[in-house]
């Protein structure tokens, strides 16, 4: 894992959002289409590649809490807005090492989930599933399984949370693609089993877009 080794070598404890998602992508976890830019000249091309409307986020491994620093802007509809946002974010990040901007596809969906990995001191890597976004911390409606996960474990842990009906076809929304979700859970467990240097993972949120889960934000902790 290049990103992980690099981060460890640099003495970092976290990967940037972009790096984190590259790790996930290697394990076939669906992620947002996204490009990192650090030069204004590259913004237009990147934005075109991702497609409008899009999301821009400050990107640096030193940035764990982008929301609180005002470094996330959604629904950017044209090049003008994109360039303006670039300038603004870069200015806000002038004290941060290697500042860059992540230009990201805007995923539409009202349902947010969380998937994570933690290392229990007794049992080793464990996978978490639950309600995502702001509800993760408020409701703590989550379930755990020790990795490696069998498919049955993945299916069971999804039904186990109190809010499991969020996965059903509700209020005109399509049912979640359970197969893809199960594979995400199994593969997050696999990341834990196969990479000792990865200590923790948060994928939050995973947004259900027409029922298809996509990792929209992620944090990989290394050490």
């Amino acid at each position: 894992m290049d990103f992980v080794d690099k981060a460890v070598k640099e003495g970092r404890s976290t990967l940037s959002e972009y790096e984190s998602k590259q790790v996930l992508a290697k394990y076939s976890i669906p992620i947002t289409k996204e490009v990192v830019v650090d030069k204004k000249d590259d913004v237009a091309k990147a934005a075109k590649q991702v497609g409008y409307p899009l999301v821009m986020k400050g990107s640096s491994s030193e940035l764990a809490h982008k929301t609180e620093k005002g470094l996330i802007r959604v629904d950017i509809r044209n090049e003008d807005e994109a360039l303006k946002t670039f300038d603004e974010f870069m200015k806000n990040m002038k004290d941060i090492k290697n500042p860059a901007i992540l230009i990201q596809e805007m995923v539409k969906g009202q349902r947010e989930l969380v998937v994570g990995m933690t290392r229990d001191p007794q049992f080793g890597p464990c996978v978490m599933f639950g309600l995502g976004g702001i509800f993760t911390e408020i409701l703590k409606d989550v379930s755990f399984r020790k990795a490696p996960l069998e498919k049955r474990d993945a299916l069971e842990m999804m039904r186990e949370i109190k809010g499991h009906k969020i996965l059903d076809a509700i209020r005109g929304m399509e049912a979640a693609n359970i197969e893809v979700l199960a594979n995400i859970l199994i593969n997050v467990g696999k990341i834990g089993v196969e990479n000792d240097k990865i200590k923790e993972i948060d994928i939050n949120p995973i947004i259900l877009s027409k029922g298809q889960p996509i990792a929209v934000d992620a944090l990989v902790v290394v050490g």
Binding site: D120, C126, F144, I201
Partner: protein
């Protein structure tokens, strides 16, 4: 089994450990009470089957037996030893027992890792070193092994049953082992093997669990766990064993989220409680929260045929039985299926009128309906395909009023416990479906002790007839629900 930590062991001779023919008690004292002489007295009282060789350097006699001055002096080989000497002498005693051919020993002595000093830890390491040479050690700082078949018992344990049974129990805590056996004694649990392994310097949860998983005498395994030595290995063995037989775990010391410094939400939410519960569930372990619950649930596992139960018929009289039964069933993943009209008619034909109703639950109106009528009710209800198991509620205390009314000489004479037991046994045989009794007692005051006495007598009788009995409806549904969930999930996993 091989001890992979050392590679020195060949195969652990569990037969010699649990059924020793020749047993040394090292550290008996002819004067005063010590663990060694306490153990000797307990073994003599319970009726241990083998030969006992007390050892103490002072020699002399105890309970009409010669006290050997050294282990070496004991004639011939020994199978097992109880060690109750001072901590610094334990490793040396184990060496001597090993030379005498002992396959294992239980160390009752304390003063090891648990006292938290470098000296204590070092003495425990010494025990481990001897164990690696080929003697399996239970303890130190433990109460030892209870095995009713051979007559081994834990301290004090002199009055534990000699009758064996299908339930095994593992715990670090000797007090917990005593509690569980004492509850089981009157509740009707009978044991294959109980091991209190204290500090667990050598033999402990994972290896013992694996052994019990293969032990033909053991059908149900209960464990009280505070911590495990190797979580991943324990999990793997749990999964293997639960595919064969139920494992019931009472996890002590579950705390909320751990205090480790973590960067992610996932890690902050994965405290020891959440992870432990998830791991146990993942391995299809039956989780309980109290010793009482563990006893109730293991009794249900020991007595009910191995399958999942969904549809329950409940019969009884008086109180808000209906609502309580429906709530308890639903809370535990079961249901009370509506009986067919023709079944209801057949039931109504035998029940006293008015006041009865033959839906499900079946209200027999009068709590004192005689067993021969109840039998008809249960036989009819069991004809329904949707009914997997029946529960009959009997308020035995109502016979106190009946006794007065009918001028019976005693409550015992007025209470039809024998008829009830025979009836339930017969219903189970005829229908092939379990019929379970619930015997609530709302009269527990000092002037109603006769009611309690009759109830306990009745309970013993029911158990003899293989009829499962609970104290109340909630316990009954909870225990049956735990049994059902285990077999349902095992079936999903293994197909058997």
């Amino acid at each position: 089994m091989n001890n992979d930590k050392s590679g020195n062991h060949t195969v652990t001779d569990y037969e010699k450990i649990f059924h020793p023919k020749k047993l040394a008690i090292v550290g008996v004292s002819a004067e005063g009470y010590g663990f060694g002489s306490g153990m000797l007295s307990s073994l003599l009282t319970i009726g241990y089957e083998g030969e006992i060789f007390p050892v103490n350097p002072k020699g002399g006699e105890i309970a009409g037996r010669k006290i050997y001055k050294t282990i070496e002096e004991i004639p011939g080989q020994i199978d097992f030893a109880v060690i109750a000497v001072a901590a610094p002498l334990v490793a040396r005693s184990l060496e001597d027992c090993l030379k005498k051919g002992a396959a294992g020993a239980e160390v009752l002595s304390s003063g090891f890792r648990e006292i938290g000093t470098p000296e204590g830890r070092s003495l425990e390491d010494d025990i481990k070193k001897v164990a690696r040479k080929g003697i399996r050690v239970v303890g130190p700082n433990c109460f030892g092994i209870y095995c009713p078949q051979s007559g081994l018992t834990i301290l004090p344990g002199a009055e534990f049953p000699r009758e064996g049974g299908p339930v095994a129990f593992l715990a670090q805590s000797g007090g917990m082992a005593n509690d569980f056996i004492n509850i089981g004694k009157w509740l009707g649990l009978r044991y294959s093997k109980v091991v209190s392994f204290g500090n667990g310097a050598d033999l402990r949860e994972t290896e013992l669990l694996q052994y019990l998983g293969d032990d033909p005498e053991t059908k149900v395994i209960c464990m009280y766990i505070e911590g495990v030595e190797d979580g991943a290995a324990f999990f793997d063995v749990l999964k293997q064993v639960t595919a064969k037989k139920p494992v019931i775990v009472y996890k002590g010391g579950l705390s909320e989220a751990g205090q480790r410094a973590v960067a992610s939400h996932t890690a902050s939410m994965g405290g020891s409680k959440a992870i432990w519960e998830a791991i146990l569930y993942q391995a299809n372990v039956v989780q309980v929260a109290t010793t009482w619950e563990m006893a109730q649930v293991s009794l249900a596992f020991a007595m009910l045929p191995e399958r999942a139960y969904k549809g329950i018929a409940v019969a009884g009289g008086g109180g808000a039985l209906g609502v309580a039964a429906c709530d308890a069933a639903e809370a535990n993943g079961m249901e009370l299926p509506q009986l067919k009209a023709e079944t209801q008619e057949k039931i109504m034909a035998v029940l006293p009128k008015p006041g009865s109703s033959a839906g499900n639950p079946i209200d027999v109106a009068n709590p004192g309906v005689p067993p021969f009528i109840l039998k008809q009710v249960l036989l009819h209800a069991a004809e329904e395909e949707k009914v997997d198991l029946q529960i009959l509620m009997q308020l035995l205390y109502v016979y106190k009023a009946i006794q007065r009314r009918e001028n019976a000489k005693s409550l015992r004479e007025a209470t039809p416990t024998i008829e009830l037991a025979d009836m339930m046994e017969d219903v189970q045989k005829k229908t092939g479906k379990p019929a379970v009794l619930v015997l609530p007692n709302n009269r527990q005051g000092l002037n109603d002790l006769d009611v309690e006495e009759i109830r306990r007598e009745a309970r013993e009788l029911f158990l003899k007839k293989n009829v499962l009995a609970f104290e109340n409806l909630t316990d009954a549904f909870h225990a049956i629900g735990q049994v059902s969930n285990y077999y349902r999930r095992r079936m999903e996993r293994t197909g058997a």
